[in-house]
Amino acid sequence: MSRKMTGARMIVEALRDQGVDTVFGYPGGAVLPIYDELFQQNDIQHILVRHEQGAVHMAEGYARSTGKPGVVLVTSGPGATNAVTGMTDALLDSIPLVVLSGQVPTFLVGTDGFQEADTVGITRPCTKHNWLVKDTSKLSATIHQAFNVATSGRPGPVLVDIPKDVQFAEAEYVGPKQVDTTNYQPRRKGDPDAITRLVELMEQAERPIFYTGGGVINSGAGASQLLREIVDATGFPVTSTLMGLGAYPASGRNWLGMLGMHGMYEANLAMHGCDLMIAVGARFDDRITGRVADFSPDSIKAQIDIDPSSINKIVHVELPIQGDVGHVLEDMLKIWKSRGRKTNSEAVRKWWSQIEQWREVKCLAYTNSDTIIKPQHALERLEALTKGRDRYIATEVGQHQMWAAQFLHFEDPNRWMTSGGLGTMGYGLPASVGVQVAHPDALVINVAGDASWLMNMQEMGTAVQFRAPVKQFILNNERLGMVRQWQQLLHGERYSQSWSDSLPDFVKLAEAFGCKGRQVSDPAELDDAIQEMIDYDGPFILDVLVEKHENCFPMIPSGKPHNEMLLSPEAEAFTGGGALV
């Protein structure tokens, strides 16, 4: 059976064969043939965004919350360049995306044609790989390969640039099974000898710790399950990066909370003082290590990572294990069990009592108020009022993001969407829309700062159009709070350009978009306002006026070691105010 068709139809066919149900995009001249094909079918829904950056973040939210790749369709030139920030974000956070961009016809490439940009050149450093397809006969195979590259090994964004004449021309369609993807197949199984060596160390360790990251989420639900099993069976403490929250449940017995710059005191000191660090899909980011020379000086470090370039990049590890988290943990558990499930339980018990002492510091302590809403309190109430629900949280970037990571608790993977590596303000609103599209009945909340939220607020229109009942929980401090905090603590309180002047009236803005809004400033009304937001059957903006000058603690200033952490005055009281450790 011959399956000759136009390139444009081929694209839709290939997406369908890849199991794609949703495309986030924005039309333009160079992709009109593809839009024409989308119009004539019903299997794939198209979410029309308001700005291409929004499309990419939506696809990220979709991908992170489902484990499936997100798909984006943009036109040439400005359409593609608008997508660059989103792709860079996805690259740093290892989010699988397939971005399809239109391009001027092949005979105009290189002539400065209308809306021509060197998309493949511009996006080379911000994609895992990209392709310019010059021949329709190669188009379907390239798209299938694009899905393979985006999703295998360390996931990431890929881009396929498709000139308009390639979309019009006809060729034979090739299905995913006929495409040879063997030339890109990263290794998944870990070296059994190295895993055995790690198990030996685990048996002897006196002060072990699991340091988990986004790689556990990337590896899939099975990996989180295995992690829980191994942590609970060994009784070792576990901490996670911002990107790995939910892999181990916050209610779990061995949970220390997030580590790093704004991480928990006990988690950071345990990392500093451990004798065996087992990094699982975590990449020793500088927000974690602080000053590298002083990072966990007395530990043996093992690192499980699928990407060899993540291993020994920042911190030297004695025991590198290249492989997929799920595969390696499975083998690790098998080997550990077969050797008699041993741990140095006496020593580990002592280690825990040390950790319990650190916990006493209550590093998240803050002074509440009954006249003004504290941002931490707002999040504690949000947590309390949504507890037990299958809840998806997105964030923007700033103080509110860190407070969300500290005060909201995640029981499952894929429930936490945040821009970690690039720290992209404007990520959260579109990401929440993407999550909601993938999970129409779930409760999806974007915890936002006023400044970040404005960066992609146009996507409120998308939420309304597609009836995505996303909740925008804006912690409005009328400041670029995170910047203000750094200026206060590190730049002599010179608040250069760090306030949000001329903010819109968020309630009127909600109405203007055709959804509902409410402002709350009285702590006594907070619960009622949150409840109204949750119960409302549609998109909702809750403008929470919070304390303007609250700082986010703990904080390890850049380049400082873990044991030089700044604590809030409230927590400081517990330590006697002196130096730590």
């Binding site: 493949v120 050149g121 080379r124 450093p125 895992k128 790989h129 310019l132 590259v149 360390r154 030339n183 890109y184 070296d191 000898d193 190295a194 060596r197 160390l201 002897q204 360790a205 006196e206 004798d275 065996l276 007395d298 043996i300 990407d307 060899p308 370039s309 291993i311 020994n312 990049k313 030297h316 004695e318 025991l319 590198p320 294990i321 290249q322």
Partner: protein, 185 residues
């Protein structure tokens, strides 16, 4: 009791054998076998510039027309941990099939071709010819006032040749960069 781990006890032991904190820069010759597709060289060069790695020399040519393979030979410099990172980053590029570190994977041969124009008359001209003979350089062009010498050898040999020719009127030079292969079968 402190935990201990044997040096070189994993299949990735190459990492462990050298001092990870060594700050001494080493020169390494890497052979990178790539899919010969558009943009592949830009990816490799972009990696070096984007991440701030050094390139001392780079050569590229198709080596297997049927199989669409090209071979890129890169001479780079860095501390041991940077060199490990460069190889890992190269390995991540999707159309890169193999990365070989010829400096650590056993003996190898390196050759570079250079063209050197030496302009001059009289004694200088005679002396230039004499040195060229010692270096087994060929004259590939000559006028009454100039020679172009062709010479093949290690980069050091070419450097030495250029040094000697400089006072004799070296006016221009073109070098190919290093091509290298592992010795033996």
């Amino acid at each position: 009791m402190a935990l201990n781990i044997k040096q070189g006890s994993t299949s990735h032991s190459a990492y462990d054998l050298r001092d990870p904190n060594a700050q001494i820069e080493e020169r390494h010759t890497l052979a990178v076998l790539v899919e010969n597709e558009p943009g592949v060289l830009a990816r490799v060069i972009g990696l070096f510039s984007g991440r701030g790695y050094n390139i001392d020399s780079l050569t590229v040519a198709e080596t297997d027309h049927e199989g669409h393979r090209s071979r890129i030979t890169i001479v780079t410099r860095g501390t041991p941990s940077v060199i490990v990172q460069i190889k890992a980053q190269l390995g991540r590029i999707v159309p890169v099939h193999e990365v070989h570190d010829l400096t650590t994977e056993g003996p190898s041969v390196e050759r570079e071709l250079g063209l050197f124009k030496v302009s001059g008359t009289g004694d200088h001209r005679v002396e230039a010819l004499r040195i060229a003979e010692i270096f087994r350089a060929n004259v590939v062009d000559s006028t009454l006032k100039s020679f172009v010498f062709e010479i093949t050898g290690t980069p050091e040999k070419l450097d030495a040749f250029a040094e000697l020719m400089r006072p004799l009127g070296l006016s221009d030079q073109a070098r190919t960069g290093v091509a290298a292969l592992a010795r033996g079968a």
